[in-house]
């Protein structure tokens, strides 16, 4: 698990400001690093808090959907993964994310391979920690 910040994408921020509307505050969320997720996925409560509407559609398969892919909304968001010390955080100013109800599993997001592909993930099982470098 790690902490990350999900916010309105920079492009939507510009649109909100040009329409004289407030920009919703970014949300601090708990994310599960999931190499079994091809796309980062966020609980709808987070997206609702950001006042977002879908800007895409995609197909998803999970063990719950069976063999036939299911259509799902996608949203454009910004994601920041803070890091301790003086290093720059990992920032995605505009990224497409899938949506699924995750809160009941104890976290708000699955951090998928669309972001992990730009990172170096090391899992030290015997020492019970992982490192994520980018």
């Amino acid at each position: 698990m790690l902490d990350m910040i999900v916010g309105v994408s920079v492009s939507r921020v510009v649109a909100l400001q040009s329409e004289g509307q407030p920009v919703p505050a970014s949300q601090n969320v708990r994310a599960l690093v999931d190499t079994g997720a091809s796309c980062t996925c966020i609980d709808p409560t987070v997206l609702i808090a950001l006042g977002l509407q879908p800007t895409g559609k995609t197909l998803m398969t999970t063990p719950s959907t069976g063999a036939t892919p299911v259509e799902a909304d996608t949203y454009d968001v910004s994601i920041v993964i803070p890091i301790s010390g003086k290093q720059e955080p990992l920032v995605r100013a505009v990224i497409s994310v899938c949506t699924s109800e995750l809160i009941h599993q104890g976290f708000h997001a699955l951090l998928g391979r669309d972001i992990l592909k730009d990172c170096h993930l090391t899992y030290n099982g015997s020492a019970e920690f992982f490192t994520l470098a980018y």
Binding site: S9, S11, R12, V14, A15, L16, S18, E19, Q21, D34, G36, A37, S38, C39, C41, P44, Q53, P54, T55, G56, K57, T58, L59, M60, T61, T62, P63, S64, T65, P69, V70, E71, A72, D73, D76, A93, V94, I95, S96, C98, T99, S100, E101, L102, L110
Partner: protein, 82 residues
């Protein structure tokens, strides 16, 4: 329903979009607005042209990309939840 018309437009015009395979198409209603190499550029153009009105950005692909999840989750769809 959210983006229903835009998705129908994409599916109907997909045969004509093949030459733009891999690019991101911006669609509003039944209008194919433009194509972009990067997702970020398509989203930026969508907000610049349509502000906060609905629009669809989708990667053109003859074979639809399917996102795979090994975790037991259910895809969320705003219209099903409404």
């Amino acid at each position: 329903m959210a983006l229903e018309q835009e998705l129908a437009t994409y599916k109907a015009k997909l045969p004509d979009l093949k030459e733009h395979q891999g690019k991101f198409v911006l669609i509003r209603g039944d209008e194919v607005v433009d194509f972009y190499v990067a997702y970020e550029d398509a989203i930026k153009a969508g907000y610049e042209k349509f502000k906060l009105e609905p629009f669809l950005v989708k990667q053109v692909s003859v074979t639809e990309t399917v996102h795979q999840f090994t975790r037991r989750i259910l895809p969320y769809n705003s219209e099903r939840a409404a």
